[in-house]
Amino acid sequence: MKKFAHLNARTLEEAVSFLGSYGGKAEIIAGGTDLLGKMKDEILPNYPEALINIKTITDLDYIEETGQGLRIGALTRLNDIAEHSGIREKYTALAQAAERTASPHIREMGTLSGNICQDIRCWYYRNPNNRFPCLRKGGGRCYAIEGDNRYHSIFGGTVEKGCYAVHPSDMAPALIALNASVKTSKRTIKSDEFFKTAVRKTTVLDRDEIVTEFEFPAPAKGSKSHFIKFAIRKSIDFPIVNCATSIINEAGKVKEARICLNGVYIKPYRAAKAEEDICGKTIDEETADAAAQTIVSEARPMKDNAYMVQIARTLVKRTILACKE
């Protein structure tokens, strides 16, 4: 790796002030599994001048269950979330997503905040030494439109720019399905509104903003959640498609549903039509299939990725069936 300065932040305020003093030329490092890969490959035109280590901030690694719900610190390792008995029981989709993220080693290193702030994995974007100066790096075009786009968006690109790289997080759909909020050093953001695509950006966070905590509302009576991931290898791969569903059942019928897919669109994709479709119905093979079918009508696959539509449809159906009371 090229040279950079390294700063240990002792408090959140210190980390924010470091970020401010470097004026957007510094990066925050927590687990580092995404950031160091990017730096080793030098995929970006600008190499960070400094890394600000937030692992030295002591009070950001915790899981707390209260009457109102669940609070998870930004630096909580994914493995700790996957193994937490309370989360496995009440926030099933979250534990399942954590358990299926990356490899065991990366789950021991990677944090929840790092997972949702991770960068895209598009192979043009990630090509070493900034070989493809694409839209997301401030360049002029998306190379996936004419190139190999088998792992790209099936629901279109960004309206104004046309980047087709999918969001690769496994935790993001679980967060959205469970209606979590993301607390930062400045504000509280609903997980639905947390993701945003722009040049060198996957979230709405400002350059001097740091994620500090995740808040989950307590699951309502009769609610169930489930997460399924489809990837080439079970052990380590990023998702081709993943899906998290959370359903509140009442008297044998669906009262409320939240369904979120990821790996299929430039940001986590709420399957709003499928949610509407399943509401008020009894979950069975037929109704789940009908709700999942709405995915197909919305999809606009590219030349190499039509197969993902079928996978998305199947995952929506299976997660709905798994949430049956």
């Binding site: 240990n8 490092i29 580092g32 160091l36 280590n53 390792r77 990356a102 490899s103 290193m109 380590i236």
Partner: protein, 197 residues
């Protein structure tokens, strides 16, 4: 020597022995009384304490393998995808190629050498079950297995497979690892029982 020779630079309290001043500063001001030069980290590797000056861009792999000469830590993908560089860092099995050494100050590292020096039965069982062909990935597997057994002394075959899922073996020795780890778990349990008697 004067009786109150040691004065705390923060609160001017005086002490008659350096040791007392040190413990006072650690407790009351949470700082090291003798500041270390910038970039020097303290690392306990396989029970041995080291003080090493590191650059920010050095990975833990580079320090353990190239500086300390513990060549059991292997580099293959250098991108956190293969598990060959696994070490146990403060009880967690992590990838040393994706860990910055400068962030490991005060931590404990265990490598394959440390496990072998302790005569851990895992090593014997790896030989017995032929868990290697070329052997390049083996130390990574051994370290990951050791971390698993530390955490879960009685794993099922499935749990072993899951714990080793992040280690790649190009020779395809996967089925043997499960056997070796399960046999080790059994032996350790028996040893534990005998020790109790």
């Amino acid at each position: 020597m004067e009786k109150h020779a040691y004065t705390c630079p923060y609160c001017s309290e005086t002490f008659d022995a350096l040791e007392n001043l040190k413990s006072h500063m650690l407790q009351a001001h949470k700082t090291d009384p003798i500041p270390r030069p910038e970039g020097v980290i303290r690392l306990t590797v396989n029970g041995e304490e080291h003080s090493i000056r590191v650059e920010p861009e050095w990975t833990l792999y580079y320090v353990v393998h190239d500086i300390l000469g513990l060549t059991g830590v292997k580099l293959f993908c250098d991108r956190g995808a293969c598990g060959a560089c696994t070490v146990i860092l403060n009880g967690r099995s992590v990838l040393s190629c994706m860990t910055l050494a400068i962030e490991c100050d005060g931590m404990t590292v265990e490598t394959a050498e440390g496990i072998a020096n302790k005569n851990h039965p895992l090593v014997e069982n790896y030989v017995k079950h032929h868990c290697m062909q070329c052997g390049y990935c083996t130390p990574g597997f051994v370290v990951t297995s050791k971390a698993l057994l530390d955490k879960n002394p009685n794993p099922s075959a499935e749990e072993v497979q899951q714990a080793l899922a992040g280690n790649l073996c190009r020779c395809g020795t996967y089925p043997q690892h499960t056997k070796a780890v399960l046999e080790t778990a059994q032996q350790l349990a028996e040893q534990g029982k005998e020790a109790k008697k």
